[in-house]
Symmetry: C2
């Protein structure tokens, strides 16, 4: 039998997927699971987006342009302009989800064995994309005690080598929920300018900024027009994860021309989903106001309930819909599996994402979990009460 | 300004895209263009597929499973079984177009600098996927005199090195239209077994087999269950190029598990398009009968008209909807550009794909073009008459 590649063998498994068989067994046993583990919101997709697809009258479901339909790119550019991000349609390449935008960015700016510095904990699939691209992630640890704020800029600087091509941030962060300030972005901007690096920012949670904070994009930072590359997606903004539409945005023409060649090779992003995404831009502000209000209430409820548990430490997020929680246990991987296999209250249990998978440094975050607050308040209260009770029974 | 990667710089441009600015200029000048250059059929998408998307009542456009929805995979497996390909749903990973299936396959079985042997001329985007994956294509020339039949198996064998991991074929072929016989597939099967290689087959044109020929899949070849990987797509079968749904199929469990990790990193294939693709499987046989009849007539018309031109050599295709044509000129790149810039009959001209871009060996196929017969017969007759006249005027 022919061998698979070393690359394929070293592709990481998602830290959540490992638990899926245990969850499936729990469901077979008749248990109900509160899913705190996933980033699939329960928020309804705007009707205007769904209706656009229902009402289309295509006779041939044809390719769009490789860079995305002109109409859609023009409208996203307007959306960015309204959000104080000065870009035009030709600074934008529409991609199949934020995932593909990241792959195009990695391919466009990094060769085999090049390095990208990323504050950890970070979105676990960055590991998969870097393995697939043959590049290496160099992590900088951010700390739960600081709410996962940007680590001191010197920590980044001392990791820069001749292999370093970029710094990647997720803002607001998955899994941390941390929203970087203008000052933090400015520090990064100065650093990438000084060392002639790219600054990649995954800003797919831009709309989810709470407590009066304003999101500040790398595309707004002055003097780094040739360095900044923004990754975006409709998945979370409009609760359209299944659309698979994102984009790569940069004022650097060479980056756009290069990414376009990757885009041309795969022909086009999905057509139905572009129709939905274009229509989604008509979503009224009231939709977002309601969604933000809902998430803020969920976050407040979640944190309030978690803080009632002895020995639990919570990073207070002011963006996205995740938070990282430190538990009074040794190994969250084991705890998460145990919750599914051996624990329930009246047939109900909880699925969480062990946070170690969001760190690149080994043996960090072992006692942490990520909670996605994508469930209704009552469910969150119930879920946390199950964790609370479980912690009194669980033995490491 | 930070530099882009060597990989990005060496990503090839599509051989067709180079001509797009000239085509756009021609249109601005008021010319009408017969597009013989693209693989976007004018055939209508089956209504059953479009209606499924119109009639869906999703409230949340959610992720599907990374490997594709269970329902869809189950139904495609049934479709394959009906076509004498014995696979189950768990031998299938649904991908974002055949393109992504190829990228997953390359990533799963090849490391940087590994080699895949491909008969040329081949689908030009294989170049882009191999550059993106950091691997190398080793071409074997097939000849227009043989209708682009499989080159002698010894030609493959003498190219095999320790770096060789796979042989890739496109069957029926784009750009050649050649349909491999059972005997040819068997020869390849024996070779990959002997040298413990993978046999990748891009079979997205399976339905398009003419003149009573039956398509014979690598998945039907005996004894190479662990070697064979099939790439498929709904794009051409149902004229649904914009769906972006394909799949990777293999009986080799390790390959499937490895490809699944690539699939998990990008979360899921597009949901709307999976709904359309699942429904498309209900397309009545009469749809295909009509489509095949239409393509056969188009092919016959095209070849008949081309053969009237002195000095023109045509490979007679018995599959897909392309053919490669040798013209009595030196440089088809230049001719194709000249047609758009400097030639028209009553304001009408033709856009063709120069075939050199489908060869990996330099300076081969310079006098060849690829014609996609995706236009109505009358348009094909008109387009060929324009080429005929142009050849009497054109000077290399």
């Amino acid at each position: 039998m022919p061998n698979i590649s070393n690359k394929g063998a070293s592709m990481p498994e998602s830290p959540i997927r490992k638990l899926v068989p245990y969850a499936e067994n729990a469901i077979k046993e008749g248990k109900t699971i509160y899913h705190l583990n996933i980033g699939q919101p329960d928020i309804k997709t705007p009707e205007v987006a769904l209706n656009a697809v229902k009402n289309q009258s295509l006779e041939i479901l044809a390719y769009s342009r490789s860079e995305g339909s002109e109409a859609y790119r023009t409208k996203i550019a307007q959306y960015y302009q309204k959000n104080d991000i000065q870009v035009n349609h030709d600074d934008i390449i529409v991609t199949t989800g934020g995932s593909e935008a990241l792959l195009f960015a990695f391919g466009s700016i990094m060769d085999a064995d090049d390095e990208v510095i990323i504050p950890e904990p970070f979105y676990a699939n960055y590991n998969g994309f870097s393995t697939a691209s043959g590049i290496n992630i160099v992590p900088v640890i951010s700390k739960i005690e600081d709410n996962f704020a940007l680590p001191p800029i010197e920590e980044f600087e001392k990791l820069i080598t001749s292999k370093t091509k970029a710094i990647l941030i997720c803002n607001p962060g998955n899994p941390t929920g941390y929203l970087y300030s203008k000052e933090e972005i400015t520090k990064l901007a100065n650093l990438v300018k000084k060392h002639d690096l790219f600054l990649l920012a995954d800003e797919v949670y831009r709309e989810f900024a709470y407590d009066g904070h304003q999101h500040y994009s790398v595309m707004q930072a002055e003097g780094i027009e040739d360095h900044a590359i923004m990754i975006d997606s409709v998945s979370k903004r409009y609760s359209m994860c299944g659309a698979r539409v994102g984009c790569l945005v940069s004022k650097n023409k060479t980056v756009i021309q290069t990414a376009l060649k990757f885009a041309q090779a795969r022909l086009s992003p999905p057509t139905f989903a572009q129709i939905a995404s274009e229509a989604a831009l008509e979503t009224p502000q009231s939709y977002f106001d309601d969604v933000i209000e809902e998430y803020v209430e969920r976050r407040n409820t979640l944190i309030q309930e978690l803080e009632k548990i002895e020995g639990v430490k919570v990073a207070k997020p002011n963006g996205a819909f995740y938070c990282v929680v430190e538990l009074p246990i040794k190994n969250a991987d084991h705890f998460a599996q145990w919750l599914l296999e051996h624990f329930d209250i009246d047939g109900e249990t909880v699925m969480v994402a062990p946070a170690a998978g969001f760190y690149s440094t080994p043996n960090v975050g072992l006692n942490q979990i990520r909670i996605a607050y994508v469930l209704k308040k009552e469910s969150l209260i119930k879920a946390v009460s199950i964790i609370k009770k479980a912690l009194t029974v669980y033995k490491d």
